[in-house]
């Protein structure tokens, strides 16, 4: 899988990262190097091997259906650049 400048631009756009035009090519090169390095893992025969999801044998912990959280509006909004009447306020997004 080869990444080109156009792909870098698209992925950056999807993640809302501002990447200057001049950085696109160098980033593509870096990403390709990383991907090539990871792809070496493809040499290992993993037929019939379950994907490992955890380094220790634990099961997904579960929670009971009890309200234990919330009612902390000010804390939730504390880092918001802008808020009003208990809402986050963001630049207009129109469908």
């Amino acid at each position: 899988m080869a990444v080109d400048a156009a792909t870098v631009k698209k992925v950056a756009r999807l993640a809302r990262l501002a990447v200057p035009e001049a950085r696109l090519e160098p980033l593509a090169k870096e990403l390709n190097a990383i991907i090539a390095w990871i792809e070496q893992l493809g040499e290992v025969d993993t037929d019939g091997v379950e994907p490992m999801t955890s380094a220790v044998a634990v099961k997904l912990p579960m929670r009971e259906d009890v309200i234990t959280d919330g009612a902390q509006r000010d804390k939730v909004l504390a880092n918001a650049p802008k808020s009003a009447d208990g809402f986050f306020v963001v630049p207009k997004v129109v469908e």
């Binding site: 999807l14 579960m62 259906d65 234990t68 959280d69 919330g70 939730v76 306020v89 963001v90 207009k92």
Partner: protein
């Protein structure tokens, strides 16, 4: 039963068939959210029910709510579906202000529930089956409010992280009515199982509608997805519009672009949501914060054993046990409480009379007061009042006509049904002497009509109407008919 005409859209080049599949998002009825301990109840102040997990603060980790999983499994069992003992969660990445993490935790590759089936009844009582492709658990997003300020969007995260069941059907519906009937039956099922409140007005049941058209029996056409349609009526309207739009494009020699569309309820049309197209690249990958969801077979078995009689099973039983029509049985099993009230009363009274009372008078009363029919009745019209009302009809104290007035009296809290009958003078006249006197006077006053009735026996209806008017609807209709036939010499 008569052969049903298939639903067709007639175009210039002949008839077209519409193919519909639905993705229903049903909010899980739970106290807390899917991955956090914040409350889910409707109507709280903005951002009052938000945990730092829901707000996606750095370092916060999701912990799954066992009860939400149980509700998904219960729904799956109600759909006679395969329960996957091992499933997992994926991240669906997209950027929007009401999705603070930048991704929604969903199940893409391995859903908790696999293929199932739902038997759906049309209004005429005929049935068809809709295949269920899958049911998976996912988080809801927050709410963006665009009309509070001309330049800014307001965001409330109370809904962010609430558990949803996305129930995906196969493209097994062929008309707007079938799509409506499917949603109705699915809604009835989740309410019955108690896994979702199914209140479309509050948005806790909404649908994405996939529509394509083809020549009858031909290859499947390209589909368009109409997002977030939130009422039964809009689902049907949007399909009618969208199918017609596609037929026109195809007949003009064009081709359908697979895309996401929005239904504009005001204009009654669908339009393209181009802004969302780019975001369609969701870049799914397994959520590294969550281990696979593994279910204990014994636990699934216990849920299975705790399932109540399912609505379609009960509808069938009501038809065979009480001789109800498919339609009445369908209306009764729309809701577990309603069905339970019916059975309580049907054990003591004429089952058909009870069905009419519950599905007509009582339901109308409930709707007028924005109330639900419960197992104990509606507001002050409880099982005791209903039972007394039914008994008065059954023993002939009131006729079916005056029964309406009696019910009105009950609605207006005028007393017990027996008191209302006396106060309003609703007692049915079965005294044939009294009826005969009325009949005689009407015939005497209308000799020409009486003569005409001899050659046109259906004219008797006019006389029945006159007698009923004279007696204020209190005459026993059967007795009136008998006496009229004799007196008119029919």
């Amino acid at each position: 039963m008569a052969e049903r005409e298939p639903y067709r859209i007639s175009g210039r080049t002949g008839d077209w068939e519409v193919v519909i599949g639905l993705e229903v998002h049903a909010q899980v009825a739970s106290n807390a959210k899917l991955f956090s301990g914040a409350a889910t109840s409707f109507g709280a102040g903005p951002n009052e029910q938000v945990s730092l997990v829901d707000a996606a603060m750095p370092g916060m980790l999701p912990v799954i709510n066992r009860y939400c999983v149980e509700q998904a499994v219960r729904t799956g069992l109600g759909l006679k579906a395969q329960i996957n003992l091992k499933s997992r969660f994926d991240r669906k990445n997209y950027f929007y202000p009401d999705l603070p993490a930048g991704y929604q935790i969903s199940q893409f590759k391995d859903p908790v529930v696999g293929e199932g089936v739902l038997t759906v009844e049309r209004d005429d009582g005929s049935t068809f089956t809709v295949g269920i492709e899958r049911l998976h658990l996912e988080q809801d997003a927050g709410k963006s409010i665009h009309d509070m300020d001309p330049n800014w969007t307001y965001v409330d995260l109370n809904r962010a992280g609430v558990a949803l069941m996305e129930i995906v059907s196969k493209p097994d519906m062929r008309s707007p009515e079938e799509a409506g009937a499917y949603v109705k039956r699915l809604r009835a099922l989740v309410r019955w199982l108690g896994t979702c409140d199914g209140d479309m007005e509050k948005g806790n049941l909404r649908a994405d509608v996939n529509v394509s058209v083809r020549k009858p029996g031909g290859e499947l056409g390209t589909r368009c997805e109409i997002k977030n349609v939130n009422s039964m009526r809009f689902i049907q309207q949007s399909i009618v519009y969208e199918a017609r739009r596609q037929v026109e494009i195809l007949e003009d020699g064009g081709k359908i672009d697979q895309e996401t569309r929005l239904f504009d309820a005001v204009k009654g049309e669908t339009r393209s949501m181009r802004s969302k197209e780019e975001a369609h690249d969701y870049r799914y990958f397994p959520d590294p914060d969550l281990l696979p969801l593994e279910l204990d077979p014994d636990w699934v078995k216990r849920i299975q054993d705790s399932l109540p009689e399912l609505p379609d099973e009960m509808a069938e039983r009501l038809q065979s046990q009480y001789g109800l029509s498919a339609y009445d049985a369908g209306v009764l099993v729309t809701d577990a409480e309603r069905a339970s009230l019916y059975e309580t009363l049907a054990k003591k009274h004429d089952p058909k009379l009870v069905a009419n009372t519950v599905t007509q008078s009582l339901l109308t009363f409930a709707n007028a007061h924005n109330e639900e029919v419960t197992a104990d009745g509606v507001l002050h019209i409880d099982t005791k009042a209903l039972s007394a009302y039914l008994a008065l009809i059954e023993d002939g104290t009131v006729s079916s006509r005056t029964a309406k007035e009696l019910f009105e009296g009950m609605v207006a809290k005028e007393g017990t049904p027996a008191q209302i009958v006396e106060a309003r003078g609703l007692r049915q006249v079965t005294d044939t002497g009294a009826i005969e006197r009325v009949v005689d006077s009407i015939i005497a006053a209308n000799p020409d009509k009486a003569e005409a009735a001899k050659t046109r026996p259906q004219a008797i209806g006019w006389f029945v109407g006159q007698v009923m008017r004279e007696t204020g609807g209190k005459a026993n209709p059967a007795a009136v008919n008998e006496i009229l036939k004799v007196k008119l010499g029919l």
